[in-house]
């Protein structure tokens, strides 16, 4: 029977098919762990006298809490420090490999998994973090889990899961390219605006089409990363030559004869031509321009050339109330051109856009220009390896010469668990993934943007795209 990519990966990991109402039991190939969602899970193991079943399939790092300045000093926030130290103790006790702060392999979980070559096509990847969907860019089935599920995977290396439906997101343009100034971030923001923050619920998304085929792995990860913002637990892209080229030679990628066997198996991981999806959505990439959010959920976005929408024009009552509350929180007036919205802070980083290609894109725009007066720009590499690579290429100098701050690796201002936060009322243009109320600091106001828009905005001080720069 013809099957989709997601169905193939599912079936390859079936430990036991559920009977009647029971969920299926799936095997987990890679379990990524960080300090925030794991302490209670390790505690649960201890209470029950259980071990970590497969420490060799488990990897931990410190990312959410870590400061990005003064990284050699002990973490000043006592509660953050306790959480990080708890992870260190747990990893030592249960035999889990940990990449702590200042280790060369440390970084945001979703940046280091791919970078180490651990994220491979056709694998199942979980982490106590909703942006685990990132790894789907390799044709892996990857999704976020809660702490009880973290404990479950630690104890059994499996998860009971209910079958999902499949949705194709077809992204095409006449020549397979995106228009100048348009990035995969704009594609995914436009997709979420189209289907809504709940549109993907219960589905695994598969991104397809000539635009997706031509994207780099970094750009694909940005798209899959934000699948969860449309309510989908996972987003996938079939592996191809771009995927294989990215993986070949990485630390944990198969070597020698194993490589050839693996690539042959990976080539089978495509949706069959006659397979059907439960739903399909088409995105016309020729019509896409840089996209920004104006509200307090990632579905409240518009092309940068538009104006803040008028809630009164929204027919659905709940949507209208949502929009009114969002504008009040964001301090925006209906009808204001988005290009006139002034920001205080620009954040480039996160598991969405904190990879080397993102930093290069932002650096190219900012090179030879200066950050506008009164604007603070933070550039936070997604991992230590990304940081080293960027420094090797001199990108750090480009940013600091322009007046931006160059930081060490971590989740940073994406969610403000470390000192990198917005003050109440402050407004940011941010390459991260969530514009929820208070996400970047209590009372902070977030506009989600691509790295190109972030850099142009830093220069002009108002939401801008590179074409606005003289």
């Amino acid at each position: 029977m013809a099957r989709t990519l997601a169905e193939k990966v599912w079936e390859q990991h079936l430990v036991r098919r559920g009977e009647g109402n029971e969920p299926d039991l799936l095997y987990i190939d890679l379990h990524l762990v960080h300090e925030v969602t794991s302490p209670q899970a390790f505690d649960g193991l201890r209470l029950a006298g259980r071990k970590v079943r497969r420490p060799d399939l488990t990897l931990a790092t410190e990312d959410h809490n870590v400061p990005t300045l003064d990284v050699l000093a002990p973490i000043a926030d006592e509660v953050s420090r306790t959480q990080v130290e708890t992870l260190r103790r747990n990893c030592a006790e249960f035999g889990v490999t940990l990449y702590p702060m200042n280790h060369a392999e440390q970084g945001i979980v979703h940046v280091i998994g791919p970078q180490l070559g651990l994220t491979q096509p056709g694998t199942t990847v979980v982490c106590g973090d909703s942006h685990t969907s990132t790894h789907g860019a390799f044709g892996a089935m990857a999704f976020g889990i809660g702490t009880s599920e973290v404990e479950h995977v630690l104890a059994t290396q499996t998860l009971p899961l209910k079958r999902f439906r499949t949705m194709a997101i077809n992204v095409n343009s006449a020549d397979g390219a995106l228009r100048p100034g348009v990035t995969s971030k704009d594609v995914v923001l436009a997709m979420i605006a189209k289907i809504g923050t709940g549109g993907g619920q219960g589905y695994v998304l598969e991104y397809r089409g000539n635009v997706i085929d031509n994207l780099s792995m970094e750009a694909r990860m940005t798209i899959c990363n934000m699948s969860i913002e449309a309510g989908a637990r996972a987003g996938m892209i079939a592996p191809d030559e771009t995927t294989f080229a990215y993986l070949e030679g990485r630390d944990h990628a198969p070597k020698g004869a194993d490589w050839d066997v693996a690539v042959a198996a990976w080539r089978e991981l495509r949706t069959d031509d006659d397979a059907t999806f439960d739903a399909e959505v088409d995105i016309d990439a020729d019509a896409l321009t840089p996209f920004v959010t104006w509200g307090t959920n990632p579905g409240q976005g518009l092309p940068l050339g538009e104006s803040v929408p008028d809630p009164a024009a929204i027919v659905d009552e709940n949507e209208r109330v949502s929009a009114e509350k969002a504008l009040a929180y964001m301090g925006l007036e209906a009808g204001t051109p988005l290009r006139d919205v002034r920001v205080d802070t620009v954040f480039v980083g996160s598991c969405t856009n904190g990879r080397i290609e993102d930093l290069r894109a932002a650096a190219e725009i900012i090179d030879g220009r200066t950050v506008a007066e009164g604007v603070r720009m933070l550039v936070v590499p997604g991992s230590m390896r990304v940081r080293f690579q960027a420094e090797q290429e001199g990108l750090d100098k480009v940013f600091t010469a322009a007046g931006a701050e160059w930081r060490s690796a971590g989740c940073s201002m994406c969610l403000g668990m470390n000192p990198d936060q917005l003050a109440p009322g402050e407004r940011s243009a941010s390459t991260s993934n969530r514009n929820f109320e208070g996400r970047q600091g209590k009372g902070g106001r977030t506009h989600l943007v691509s790295p190109l828009v972030a850099a142009a905005t830093a220069v002009r001080g108002t939401l801008s795209s590179p074409e606005d720069l003289a």
Partner: protein
């Protein structure tokens, strides 16, 4: 996990859609290493506003939250479920829950009861008109009852069974330990391992 059959408590109408997990509990409150003590962070930004529903008697003593659509979107933090439970909630009612939130609720013993939006609106009106109204949620019958209003809710049969029995997921899975061992024995040796290369 404690078994859940029925629960009766004060209903709290929360007229908001898209209540994301950053609203339920902001990230700065996620630093505890226990499963308790998260009630301080629950809706912390909104609770700073005196007019917020949980700052009003008798709603502050509520245990059944009736919220708008798409409750629990965003982060995978199970702390959102713990914060609700630590505060005293046993049931959340919404017309649609985010997948991860719903899963986390089921694991931790919070009942996520899916009620059609028109019925949510009826519950909101009733709870607003008569503050302090007690709501009875019956998991066996899959009903929500408040005064003379009874509406149905949906929950998948497997989760319902697990909650009614108070069963621990890990224990259930370990009944299939032989299946897991057999699967592992057949896994190709080329699959990645995390020990430093």
């Amino acid at each position: 996990m404690d078994a859940f059959t029925t629960h009766t408590g004060i209903g709290v109408p929360l007229r908001r859609a898209n209540v994301d997990t950053d609203q339920i509990i902001p990230a700065v409150y996620l630093k505890r290493v226990t499963r308790t003590g998260f009630e301080d962070g629950l809706f912390s930004a909104w609770r700073a506003d005196e007019s917020f529903i949980l700052n009003q008697e008798p709603f502050s003593r509520g245990s059944v939250l009736v919220a708008g659509a798409d409750f629990g979107t965003g982060s995978s933090r199970e702390h959102a479920v713990w914060a609700l439970m630590n505060y005293g909630f046993r049931v959340v009612i919404s017309s649609r829950f985010a997948d991860i939130f719903r899963g986390n609720s089921a694991k931790a013993g919070l009942l996520a009861a899916q009620v059609a939006q028109p019925d949510v609106e009826l519950l909101w009106k009733l709870l607003e008109n008569e503050p302090g109204t007690e709501v009875t949620v019956d998991l066996r019958e899959k009903t929500v009852q408040a005064r003379d209003l009874t509406v149905a809710f949906e929950i998948d049969d497997y989760t319902r069974w697990r909650l009614l029995e108070g069963l621990d997921d890990i224990g259930l899975t370990l009944r299939h330990a032989d299946h897991i061992a057999a699967f592992e024995a057949a896994r190709p040796s080329r699959m990645p391992r995390t020990a430093p290369a």
